[in-house]
């Protein structure tokens, strides 16, 4: 059974249909990259998965449970699906470590003494050991984004969503964030990325989905999508960005 399954999902903002009937099935340990032009619905799709936006129609199943049911309590779902945003969205009044401890303590009810060593291990693993006690505005963009990833990982999610997490970074800082994703990939984390990093998608993804006007226009293994796309619109998009 798929870990996360979308069936005929639709979402409109006002009259504008942003997601127009998407079916997608994510297996455990799989890494999926969503590519497509700005406004094609990549970010909205991720927000629907973590219930930050309600689905208008269709279904999203997590482990067989319909999480798109209107009125469902979103908190338990969000504890299982982590998300990292383009603009980091760290809490500016808390240090990197405090950012990371907040949810495990408040949501999981764990003690600081219990969570801190885990958080320290994550900071250490991603080269942030000496940045734990810094505030977000004392960190570079790349460091902030790595802290945001650590913060999401500290909740031990089963799936991680990444919403164009390198798009706001200076080019020389992109690499350090992609290294974090490589490391997560190596340990078998289930990941869904909305990304413009085509080289990265080609290198690591199990599957690439090309979104166009709220639909999955074409999907398949990265080698085929990038070297031999079958849809003219995919070809047109790739010729613009590659």
């Amino acid at each position: 059974m798929a870990l996360l399954e979308l069936r005929a999902v639709r979402k409109a903002f006002g009259d504008h249909l942003v997601i127009d009937g998407i079916d997608l099935s994510i297996a455990t340990g799989e890494m999926t990259c969503l590519i497509g032009a700005s406004g094609s619905g990549k970010s909205t799709l991720l927000k629907l998965m973590t219930l930050l936006e309600p689905v208008d129609d269709g279904h999203i199943y997590l482990d067989g449970q319909d999480i798109s049911e209107p009125g469902l309590d979103p908190q338990p779902v969000r504890q299982r699906i982590g998300i990292v945003f383009q603009q980091y969205n760290l809490f500016p009044h808390m240090t990197a470590l405090e950012n990371t401890l907040l949810a495990p303590r408040r949501v999981r009810g764990r003690s600081a003494a219990e969570v801190t060593p885990e958080a320290e291990a994550l900071f250490d693993r991603f080269g942030l050991a000496d940045r734990m006690h810094h505030y977000p505005d004392q960190l570079s963009g790349g460091q902030q984004q790595r802290v945001a990833i650590v913060r999401a990982l500290a909740m031990q999610p089963e799936i991680m969503l990444f919403d164009e997490i390198t798009s706001a970074l200076d080019p020389e800082l992109v690499g350090e964030v992609l290294d974090v994703l490589r490391s997560l990939r190596a340990e078998g984390m289930t990941m869904i990325l909305a990304t413009h990093e085509m080289g990265f998608a080609r290198e690591l993804a199990d599957r690439v989905c090309f979104l166009d006007r709220g639909r999955i226009c074409e999907e398949g293994p990265p080698d085929r999508i990038f070297s031999n796309p079958s849809e003219p619109r995919t070809r047109a998009f790739l010729s613009r960005v590659l």
């Binding site: 930050l52 945003f85 603009q87 809490f91 009044h93 408040r106 999401a152």
Partner: protein, 274 residues
């Protein structure tokens, strides 16, 4: 000096600064000199000097005024924390989304509308004379209690609006980030949004508390002998207005530094955000 030679730009700016300082100093001196020379030429100056700037009266009444001012400070000191607490509660009540709590939300809205819409002195009269009129036993008929309550109700309404504007100024992405980690909406408010919002409105709230410090004097209209009332007593006793000038100086000694400090905080925030 750092030892490095100044750039052309620095030399130019230093010259500009010196020029500006010289002109500012010159024009200030000219205006002051005009005031000092011209005002005494007014026909009533001697009379004004006698009744408003009488050194002898000033020396005699100033210690008593200072003493009376302690009551202003005391009233301020017990009102301020209650205002902060009530203002916070009302601000939070206005953001309630639970339909069962709608009456509370409505009440908070009416409350801020009503008390921001009335002159402070009117509220002080209505509550300060009205409630003791119920014939309550001591100490519940004290004008201190009801006058303070009037100040608290009016100022908490303003503080609530300031806090609410702070809450609304926090970008929605902060709330989204908190919720995405599994926090409940109330935890997101308490740990993520409110701490940032309160920090952001410190200068605006300081200005409100400076205004409160001055409005404490309005309680004199319903009885308490604080500094304004005390100055009035001295005025009648000595048939001289100098005690009012003394009282004004005492207020300014407190409010000017506080205002400067609030401005300083506001500037610092503006710089930090740009």
């Amino acid at each position: 000096m750092t030892g490095t030679p100044l750039t052309r730009r620095q030399v130019f700016e230093a010259r500009q600064r010196r020029r500006a300082t010289t002109i500012a100093a010159g024009s200030t001196c000219a205006v002051l000199a005009a005031l000092v020379l011209l005002i005494p030429l007014a026909p009533g100056w001697e009379a004004v000097k006698r009744s408003f700037f009488n050194a002898e009266v000033f020396a005699k009444t100033f210690p008593g005024l200072l003493n009376a001012f302690l009551l202003d400070i005391a009233i301020f000191a017990w009102c301020a924390p209650l205002i902060a607490a009530l203002g916070l509660l009302v601000a939070l009540a206005r953001d309630l989304r639970n339909p069962a709590l709608y009456p509370l939300r409505l009440a908070a809205m009416l409350y801020t509308d009503i008390f921001r819409g009335l002159p402070v002195i009117l509220v002080i009269y209505l509550i300060g004379f009205g409630v003791p009129g119920l014939g309550l036993p001591r100490p519940w008929n004290s004008p201190y209690i009801w006058g303070s309550l009037a100040l608290i109700l009016v100022y908490a309404a303003y503080v609530a609006e300031v806090i609410r504007s702070g809450i609304e100024s926090i970008h929605d992405s902060q709330r989204a980030a908190a919720l995405s980690l599994g926090l409940t909406p109330s935890d997101a408010m308490r740990f993520v949004i409110l701490p940032q919002a309160l920090r952001r409105v410190v200068p605006a709230n300081m200005n409100l508390f400076i205004a409160l410090q001055k409005d404490v004097a309005l309680l004199s209209f319903i009885g308490p002998v604080e500094i304004f009332r005390q100055a009035g007593v001295y005025k009648s006793l000595m048939a001289n207005f100098t005690p009012y000038v003394g009282a004004a100086l005492i207020f300014l000694a407190l409010t000017i530094p506080a205002t400067r400090y609030a401005d300083h905080l506001m500037n610092r925030q503006r710089k930090a955000r740009s």
